[in-house]
Amino acid sequence: MNAEIIPFSADVADRASDEPALVVDVEGFEGPLDLLLTLARQQKVDLARISILALADQYLAFIEAARKLRLELAADYLVMAAWLAYLKSRLLVPDSNAPEGQTAEDMATALAFRLKRLEAFREVAQKLMERPRLGRDVFDRGDPEPIAEIRHPQYTATLYDLLSAYASQRSRQALSHVRFAPRKVWSLAEARETIERILGEVAETEWGRLDEFLVRYFVDPEMAATVTASSFAATLEMVREGVMEIQQHTAFSPIYLRKRRAAAGASASPQGETTQ
């Protein structure tokens, strides 16, 4: 809608000359009741004693003026116009034969009440907005001091949690020991480490019997085979490296070993207790 302004001539005669002419911007009204209230104020009388008939006339004249200017009017305004026209006709021509019910006077009183009520709420709305307001007239603490939260952890665990945790880890650990405790294999590395230690214990030139050195490792009969195999393999490796010498006279006869002499090129023959 255009911002057209309609001078509202119907009212001009009643107004003091120094007052500005009532300008009616249809868009500025908050509905027909608001428009009626604005018009009513022009009567400059208490709303309780207002002439509803005169008010209806003013309203209808306004609507007529707006129509002439081809202003679009919301349906609300037209409904009110129709209702006021009806009210006006009933006020002017009372129907004495009408059945009991709402009289034209009741209707007029109801309208006056609504206008009065709207005005009353407008007044208190104004008063409310004029109160000293927070952030406009009064202020709260600008720099509030925050409340620090200190968290106290409270741990929870049930006896069941505790017992099942105990039992399950003890079982787990016990069963894993059962599975892995007996070592059934003597590794090459273990064999070599042992032989090196044995060699360190014997005198330089002495030949020694391998099975005698290892006797303490044969206590567990299950270990005999793996100990023999690994230690023999380890000795061969050490001979190849030139760390020691080894001899065996016949198959399955005892194996002798001794440290290799550092400088001497020739190897001495085994000691007397061995048989050539």
Binding site: R117, A125, L128, L134, D137, R141
Partner: protein
């Protein structure tokens, strides 16, 4: 009145010491709590930090009186308490003013009708204003935090009822809702009983969250509607 005996002060390391100080420590605590907070505090929150048996109401009254002449006043807002700058000093504090969205005339009127006539339905607001309320008006008011949907009226269609919040009371500096300006005149002129059957007593606005006889509680999901509160049933 607050006990005037020497007060036990709990010092930072938790030990007690006697302090000779004319000002009772309970009052100092009350002062500190209310001063530190931006939000109004209710009496329950305050009591939690004070010794059992402490006469909180008397202390608040005394503190309020003590601060009445100062630049900062202790004010009661509904059932909460807060320090606020004295309203006559607003001219000094322009820098602190917060930009507030200017409310439309429709929003201001709607707010006033909700405040003075609560609990009130949208249809009742429309009846008073003689015009339908645009969806945006209620949205804007909900956004201010000053109004809230509070229940459903026990009438066909079960429309939402609206009322004001604690923020409303705090923003407009009301000690209680019955301090709304002009309320008495409005009530006396019968402006608040327009729609009610004649045998009903004149209703007084109340933000008491307790539902009235003709209100049902909100249902789950109603508060989601809160921001778009035009239940079709209300039309």
């Amino acid at each position: 009145m607050v006990s005037s005996a020497a007060k036990r002060v709990i010092s930072e390391d938790g030990e007690s010491e006697m302090k000779t100080n004319a000002r009772p420590d309970e009052v100092r605590i009350l002062e500190a709590l209310l001063f530190a907070s931006k939000e109004p505090l209710d009496e329950k929150t305050l009591s939690a930090r004070l010794p059992a048996g402490f006469n909180l109401k008397a202390a608040l009254a005394a503190l309020q009186e003590e601060y009445a002449a100062r630049g900062v006043n202790l004010v009661r807002l509904g059932n909460k308490w807060a320090f606020r700058t004295a309203s006559d000093l607003s001219w000094l504090l322009t820098k602190e003013q917060v930009e507030t969205r200017k409310l439309s005339r429709a929003a201001i009127e709607t707010l006033a009708i909700i405040a003075y006539h609560q609990p009130v339905t949208r249809a009742e607001i429309e009846d008073i204003r003689g015009v339908t309320i645009s969806k945006g008006t209620i949205d804007v008011l909900l956004e201010t935090g000053w109004i809230r949907p509070r229940g459903r009226r026990k009438v066909p269609g079960r429309p939402l009822t609206y009322g004001t919040t604690e923020e409303f009371v705090s923003h407009f500096g009301l000690e209680q809702l019955s301090d709304l300006p002009g309320l008495e005149e409005l009530k006396g002129a019968g402006m608040l009983d327009g729609r009610l059957p004649p045998n009903f007593s004149v209703p007084v606005p109340s933000d008491d969250p307790a539902l009235r006889e003709d209100e049902d509680p909100l249902e789950p999901g109603d508060l989601d509607y809160g921001l778009a509160p035009r239940p079709t049933s209300e039309e």
